[in-house]
């Protein structure tokens, strides 16, 4: 289907959070983060701010505009010359802005136009805008109608970045991509508050931003592109500026938190992406032509939603947590559908037995190399020695096992040692990983490694008791004083066993020689298992195999705990989102009654919905406990965890939620629910909620905004018949805001389990009509005088970079 391409550009942290909400709404309704005909871009001066992870890989492109070395940036801009640089703050005025623009709009604007050792900011921004533009309007664009994209720029007018660059950005798009005509803004403004002490800067930044916007909305005021050759743009920056805040125009309680505001902004952008823009455009063309709307607008919005996606995601999070908790359960593991306590004694027994086998096999691998087989060779040597063919028996035997003899057994074994060590690493790796794949428990594996280290220690102690040392001189001593006399004493010749006995004793001495060679390797292996930061790996095999270590296991456990959310440090790092944190977000989203989205639950509560879905999943899938099978099928879990080592948290988070969501989808564990069913059963409640769209999200108190049939008001849902049915039911409850005609109905297939009531408003002047503006204007004159070292010039320079 051909769609109008759309670009969404977020500025500053608020812009990012709004885009995240937009992405989330699209994901909840379609299972994807964005359609092929839309792109997200986010511009930020705060290096630490990153798009947080969602179940899918975030599609929000990020441009970081650096504010490092502000003084140098200013100097360089001045040196480059060009038009419209009067707004640049004097070098001695700038302060270290820390993580962002420091709440100073002129610093935000400087960040856009300046460059430093971290990059050329303006070039980066232009390149990124062109890049996303090409994706939706270039030759490879999919599902588009071939027109130039509409652009929505969003951010708050409270901080330095948003207020500093939102106008420049609009003009930058107009100058760089002249074909783009539709540029809209969605600007978040501060709420009405009886007390603004301590938050003055936020309000004053808003005032500065709105003043600048009003300035350029006057046709007489030309915009001159900074650093250009006086290149002018006459038209206003935006087609329409939508303002929203946490406060409403009436007595409706304000939205509790900023995240609620971002959610509503995200919902608005989402609706515009999936069809509301086109519907609004039909009406707004007439409204503009008839001067019925002006340059500024706002809206009221309410929705009734069966939160299927949230229920599904919450259950996926639960199942993901259970799976990861299974992997890091310190007390129990699963075997043949049974939960069994981790028994260290049993583990020690089995590991010791297996290690002894591995060691024996490793010893055997030392016997053969380059066509020589020591075992056969010793058989022949024993016969020859007994026959007296080798001269002095003790001397010959000594020479055979001595390091001084280059052709002797000592050096033969020394040359083969790497192969035998690799054999041990490979076999240990095999049996540990095999068990890990079978039991899926890192604590079980850890206990195995501890048992393995103990088994090595026991072997080393045993060898020590035999008098074996890693030093060659001690070996020679042992050989001369103990082994050679023993090999030749009491050979049981009377029964004809002298050859067999000598052969066996020579083999036994050979084993001791192997032990002597192995001591250092075994100490290294043990140390690496217990303390190794970098795991020992094989050197002679075509594919490197690494020895599992306790450090590695601890790291994996830590990462899994982080992913679940069992470690506090995770929360400090914004770029990590834990399963618990996401669960809390969903819970608080479900409980947030200040946002005008009515969540409906056929099973009465969210918890009941999740529980019922969980039961359906368990019944349909016959899975009593989660296993790696859901995540990676038959593949090797150890390899998977190691493959995802660097970005384990992010990859696990995505994979877990996605795979479980897929399973829930396959088993249809969370059923759809028709919103009209709810309206049919609860018409009054539905009417009250739909009525919330009449309250718009801006505190304009003293004025009633003029309405017009050309200012959009529309009910949006996935099925036209259902919408008509709902409107009829609402009308029966004396709710007459929406008429049952095409102007008031928008069918959008993406809106599954969701019905939205949207009423747009316009015809106001923000500088005059927003209730707190007069107070802020007075504050603008008074506040700088209270600040030590502040002058009017400096103040204007900081706060009003567009009006200098």
């Amino acid at each position: 289907m051909a769609n109008k391409p759309i670009l969404f550009i977020g500025i500053g942290s608020s812009g990012l959070y709004t885009l995240e909400q937009l992405q989330n709404f699209y994901y909840e309704n379609t299972g994807k983060n964005k359609p092929s005909w839309a792109e997200y871009l986010y511009i930020e001066t705060n290096k630490e701010n990153q798009p947080s992870i969602t179940a899918l890989k975030s599609e929000i492109n990020r441009v970081y505009i650096s504010l490092a070395e502000m003084e140098t940036m200013i100097k360089e801009l001045r040196a480059e010359g060009g038009s419209n640089l009067e707004w640049l703050p004097p070098e001695d005025h700038v302060l270290d802005a820390g993580l962002g623009a420091g709440g100073i709009p002129s610093c935000g604007r400087l960040a856009l136009w300046g460059s430093n050792r971290e990059g050329n900011n303006i070039r980066n921004v232009i390149n990124n805008i062109k890049y996303i533009h090409t994706k939706v309007a270039g030759p490879s664009a999919k599902d588009t109608d071939g027109s130039e994209p509409a652009v929505f720029i969003t951010g708050s007018l409270t901080g330095g970045t948003g207020t500093g660059i939102f106008i420049d950005l609009a003009y930058l798009i107009r100058s760089e991509i002249p074909g783009i005509k539709e540029i809209y803004s969605l600007l978040l403004t501060p709420p009405e508050s009886s007390v603004i002490n301590g938050a003055e800067i936020i309000y004053l930044n808003s005032l500065g931003g709105i003043k600048a916007l009003a300035h350029y909305n006057e046709v007489a005021n030309k915009y001159i592109i900074p650093c250009s050759n006086n290149q002018e743009i006459l038209e206003p920056p935006f087609e329409l500026n939508q303002f929203i805040s946490q406060s409403y125009n009436d007595a409706t309680p304000q939205i509790n938190s900023l995240s609620g505001l971002y959610k509503m902004a995200g919902l608005y952008l989402f609706l515009n992406m999936v069809g509301l823009r086109a519907k609004r455009f039909e009406r707004l063309v007439d409204a503009k032509g008839n001067l019925q709307i002006g340059k500024y607008g706002t809206f009221g919005i309410s929705a009734i939603q069966y939160p299927k996606a949230q229920i599904q995601e919450y259950l996926s999070l639960n199942l993901s947590s259970s799976l990861l908790e299974r992997w890091i359960d310190s007390g129990y593991y699963f075997q043949a559908n049974q939960k069994i306590p981790i028994d260290n004694t049993q583990i020690t027994r089995s590991v010791t037995k297996r290690f002894d086998e591995i060691l024996r096999e490793a010893f055997d691998t030392l016997n053969a190399s380059g066509g020589t087989n020591l075992s056969n060779n010793i058989t022949k040597e024993a016969v020859a020695i007994n026959k007296g063919e080798k001269g002095d028996k003790p001397d010959y035997l000594y020479d055979l096992f001595s390091p001084a003899n280059a052709e002797g057994y000592y050096n033969f074994l020394s040359n083969n040692l790497a192969i035998a060590t690799d054999y041990i690493i490979q076999e240990v790796n095999n049996f540990i990983i095999q068990d890990f794949n079978r039991y899926e428990n890192l604590y079980y594996t850890k206990a195995q490694l501890v048992a393995l280290a103990d088994a090595i220690k026991r072997v080393l102690d045993y060898w020590k008791n035999l008098g074996i040392s890693a030093y060659a001189s001690k070996w020679e001593d042992l050989l001369g004083k103990q082994q050679v006399p023993w090999m030749l004493t009491n050979l049981h010749k009377y029964i004809g066993e002298q050859n067999n006995i000598l052969r066996e004793r020579m083999l036994s001495t050979l084993d001791m020689l192997k032990m002597h060679h192995f001591i250092k390797k075994m100490i290294d292996l043990r140390k690496n298992i217990l303390e190794g930061e970098v795991p020992l790996g094989t050197a002679t095999l075509s594919t490197r195999v690494e020895l599992p270590t306790i450090n590695k296991i601890n790291t994996l456990i830590k990462e899994l705990e982080r992913t679940i959310g069992l470690r506090d440090d995770i929360e400090r790092e914004a770029r990590f989102k834990s399963l618990q944190k996401r669960k809390s977000e969903i819970e608080s989203d479900m409980n947030d009654t200040s946002v005008p989205i009515l969540r409906i639950f056929p099973a009465n509560t969210f918890e009941n919905e999740v529980r019922q879905a969980n039961e359906r999943y368990r019944n349909e899938s016959n899975k009593t406990f989660p296993s790696k099978e859901t995540l990676i099928g038959d593949k090797n879990l150890w390899d998977y965890l190691n493959q995802t080592d660097i970005n384990m948290h992010r990859i696990l988070y995505h994979d877990c939620i996605l795979r479980f969501k897929e399973e829930l989808d396959n088993y249809n564990s969370v059923k759809d629910y028709d919103v009209s069913e709810f309206v049919k059963r609860n018409p009054q409640n539905a009417a009250i909620f739909a009525g919330k769209a009449r309250s718009y999200m801006l505190p304009i108190r003293k004025k009633t905004l003029k309405t017009s049939q050309n200012i959009p008001r529309v009910v949006l849902g996935s099925d036209k018949t259902v919408i008509e049915n709902v409107i009829r039911l609402l009308q029966a409850e004396n709710f007459q805001e929406f008429l049952n005609d095409t102007d008031h109905i928008k069918e959008i297939s993406e809106l599954k389990n969701l019905m939205v009531f949207y009423i747009e408003q316009g015809n106001f002047e923000p500088l005059e009509d927003i209730s707190y503006m007069s107070k802020i204007k007075a504050l603008d004159l008074e506040y700088p005088t209270k600040l030590r070292g502040m002058t009017t010039e400096k103040w204007n320079n900081f706060r009003n970079p567009y009006l200098n």
């Binding site: 029964i495 006995i501 066996e504």
Partner: protein
């Protein structure tokens, strides 16, 4: 043959000590022969490919060979008693007891050697 039959199954007069000594020596010689045959049988036949180190297996073979010898000796005792009756073992008949003394002495020697080898083997294992 008659000499051997007389030595092995004919019970001499209690005062014929030379005859008794001869009987004892012949029996010892024959027992050693049986023991060696048994030892050879176990070493080269039954346990020709031992599970354990050959030094230990030979020690075990000694024990098996003693058991083998005692079994053969018991068969001999069976025929000895069958020919001479059980009166030989009557405590009040001192003359008869003396006559059977070399046989009994040898039998007890076997048991003593077996126990001695057994415990020495066990100790050797423990030392390892």
């Amino acid at each position: 043959m008659e000499f051997l039959e007389n030595i092995l199954f004919g019970l001499n007069a209690p005062n014929d000590y030379l005859e008794l000594l001869l009987q004892f020596l012949v029996l010892t010689l024959l027992s050693c022969l049986v023991f060696y045959i048994g030892y050879l049988l176990f070493t080269k036949g039954v346990f020709a490919k031992p599970k354990y180190p050959r030094d230990y297996q030979l020690k075990i073979n000694v024990l098996w060979a003693i058991i083998f010898t005692v079994v053969i000796f018991s068969v001999y005792l069976f025929f000895l008693i069958k020919r001479n009756g059980t009166d030989l073992f009557l405590v009040d008949n001192v003359g008869s007891l003396i006559r059977i003394l070399p046989v009994l002495l040898l039998f007890l020697t076997f048991i003593f050697i077996f126990l001695n080898r057994y415990y020495s083997f066990i100790n050797a294992l423990k030392r390892k």
